[in-house]
């Protein structure tokens, strides 16, 4: 009997939760704010679904209800991707080793 592909995805999901658990516990508390902003950015990989949705309209009508929601989702996710990574970058720049004040 063949195994439903859903089971494989579920396995990826469960194992990733464990990876997340151990990786996040090792994050130093002083970087918890950048952690939140970067998780924000990466969870916007949902843009993958938005792009598929946006391109689902046929060539005669690019805009149908379904694709409009896709395009909107692209913009929302893009705000998060650019905003999230850049603001994280900005914060992490501030954590550079500084020369001691004499």
């Amino acid at each position: 009997m063949e195994i439903d592909p859903f089971i494989f995805r579920l396995s990826i999901f469960i194992l990733s939760i464990f990876i997340g658990y151990y990786v996040v516990w090792s994050v130093t508390p002083s970087l918890h704010t950048p952690l939140m902003s970067v998780t924000n950015a990466i969870s916007s990989v949902i843009i993958v679904g938005a792009i598929i949705a946006g391109l689902a309209g046929n060539s005669e009508s690019i805009f149908n209800t379904s694709s409009i929601f896709g395009f909107l989702a692209i913009s929302l996710a893009a705000i998060n991707i650019f905003g999230g990574f850049l603001v994280t970058q900005r914060m992490l720049q501030m954590y550079k080793k500084k020369k001691k004040v004499k």
């Binding site: 592909p5 859903f6 995805r9 999901f13 469960i14 990733s16 939760i17 990876i19 997340g20 658990y21 996040v24 994050v27 130093t28 508390p29 002083s30 918890h32 704010t33 952690l35 939140m36 902003s37 970067v38 998780t39 924000n40 990466i42 969870s43 990989v45 949902i46 843009i47 993958v48 679904g49 938005a50 792009i51 598929i52 949705a53 946006g54 391109l55 690019i62 149908n64 209800t65 379904s66 694709s67 929601f69 896709g70 989702a73 692209i74 996710a77 893009a78 705000i79 998060n80 650019f82 850049l86 603001v87 994280t88 900005r90 992490l92 501030m94 954590y95 550079k96 080793k97 004499k102």
Partner: protein, 464 residues
């Protein structure tokens, strides 16, 4: 591009996201981690384009909307002051939630495009996954909007409670399950829209009763939700990058909520059920009596610190409100010139989000190796000469250790009272968020400095 090849690339971007979080284990590797995250995102987006293949006019629109969103995001990222980080993160969460809802709507209306069956005849498994993604996404969206409004001060930070709140919430949660069942058995779009509306409503109702200072928990919790929403959509789209990321973000947010709850010695349910602060205040105000405090000025504070050999600084949300972090750093620089050892003590729930104070201090160029967590530094208070408490209150309250009647009893606190002398910068004697008096104010060795945190630190620097 073949489906197998793109699946492998999605897996690679998932791995890069794991490395992005791994990098945050130390400030040295964190920037590299962020770079991994960006590469992972570029790979995921590129592969999606390539796998769709037929380059139509639609691509133009995809880039157009990508560019609009991207420029807004970049603009916000450069403009936002570090003190507003909690609002920003709450706002970003709401966008992830809404994007998840939109993708789910899109998939529901046009399942062929996602290979999920045909309209009105969507595969059962996909429909369930889609509903979960949409429901969690909607809750994330409306919950984050409320969190954003509360943090921004547009909406009062006070918990809003009303009679029958919990039964109502329970009823709505139950109706979500019923509606999902009805949606799956009838495939009717009516149920889909009602389900979305009800989910938006419950997100709103869940966050409204939670008070302002519980925001660290709320933000972490919504962070977690945004992850689960992404994972739900990931299952629908059969996309491993989304599933991996969703799981990572989901567990990350959950761990942060746990750390925050522990920092307040409260159970997760206690926070979620809300109303903290509102109920306590009535009891505390009855027993209020005028007790004498020692009132000082900048000169006294400067004198005390000049004669100290070690000073520990305890920053709190008040420092963020007054934007005093730069003034504080200048004061510390002057202290260091006088060979006074200075370190910073940060309570896990100081500020309005996890790590809030660390970012503000980093912004003010405070080296991160002078900044310590509660467990690392708590024993040092006994040996320090001066504790300088700026904008913090409840996290220093000794009642948490001594008074079993106190609502914050059992919460880990900084042992500020063990210092030889304590300087308390505060605008007034008003109790902190928990609505309880702080015994520290009335101690023999405490000097109260009633002023705006920024002005006071500037004045002290002048007097040093």
């Amino acid at each position: 591009m073949s489906a197998n090849l793109s699946a492998i690339f999605y897996l690679i971007s998932g791995v890069l996201f794991i490395l992005a979080l791994r990098g945050l284990s130390s400030p040295e590797t964190s920037r590299q981690g962020n770079l991994f995250g960006i590469i992972g995102m570029v790979i995921a987006i590129t592969v999606t384009f390539l796998s769709i293949g037929n380059f139509s006019i639609g691509f133009f629109y995809v880039f157009f909307f990508l560019l609009i969103g991207g420029s807004i995001g970049a603009f916000i990222a450069y403009k936002i002051p570090m003190t507003a980080m909690p609002e920003l993160v709450a706002g970003f969460h709401s966008l992830v939630g809404l994007a998840a809802v939109f993708v789910a709507i899109s998939a529901f209306l046009n399942p062929e495009a996602f290979n999920l069956g045909s309209s009105g005849n969507i595969k059962l498994g996909s429909l369930i996954e889609m509903s979960i993604g949409a429901v969690v996404g909607a809750i994330t969206f409306s919950g984050s909007i409320i969190a954003f409004l509360k943090l921004q001060g547009i909406m009062s930070g006070a918990p809003i409670t009303f009679k029958g709140q919990h039964p109502l919430n329970a009823l709505i949660l139950f109706s979500i399950i019923v509606l999902t069942y009805l949606l799956c058995s009838t495939q009717s779009s009516h149920f889909f829209w009602i389900l979305l509306a009800v989910s938006f409503l419950i997100g709103f109702l869940l966050i409204v009763p939670i008070g302002g200072a519980d925001m660290p928990v709320v933000i972490s919790m919504l962070n977690s939700y945004s992850g689960w929403a992404a994972a739900g959509i990931g299952f629908t789209l059969e996309n491993s990058a989304l599933i991996i990321t969703g799981a990572l973000v989901g567990s990350s947010g959950a761990i942060l909520s746990y750390i925050m709850c522990k920092g307040m010695n409260r159970s997760f349910f206690n926070v979620i059920l809300g109303g903290f602060g509102a109920t306590e205040q009535s009891g505390a105000s009855g027993s209020k009596e005028q007790r004498p405090v020692k009132n000082g000025n900048a000169e006294d504070a400067a004198f005390l610190m000049k004669n100290a050999s070690s000073v520990i600084i305890v920053p709190g949300y008040g420092m963020a409100v007054a934007q005093a972090q730069h003034a504080l750093r200048e004061m510390v620089d002057t202290l260091k010139k006088n060979d006074i050892k200075v370190s910073y003590a940060i309570h896990p729930v100081a500020g309005r989000m996890p790590g809030h104070m660390n970012v503000l201090l980093a912004e003010a160029n405070v080296p991160y190796d002078e900044v310590f967590e509660l467990e690392e530094i708590n024993n040092d208070f006994a040996n320090a000469d001066v504790a300088f408490v700026i904008g913090a209150n409840d996290v220093t309250n000794p009642a948490a250790k001594t008074d079993p009647q106190s609502p914050i009893y059992g919460m880990p606190v900084l042992d500020v009272e063990k210092c030889k002398s304590v300087l308390f910068v505060k605008r007034s004697l008003s109790p902190g968020y928990a609505g309880i008096d702080n015994d520290l104010f009335y101690k023999e060795n405490t000097l109260m400095l009633f002023a705006d945190a920024k002005k006071m630190t500037e004045e002290i620097t002048k007097n040093l």
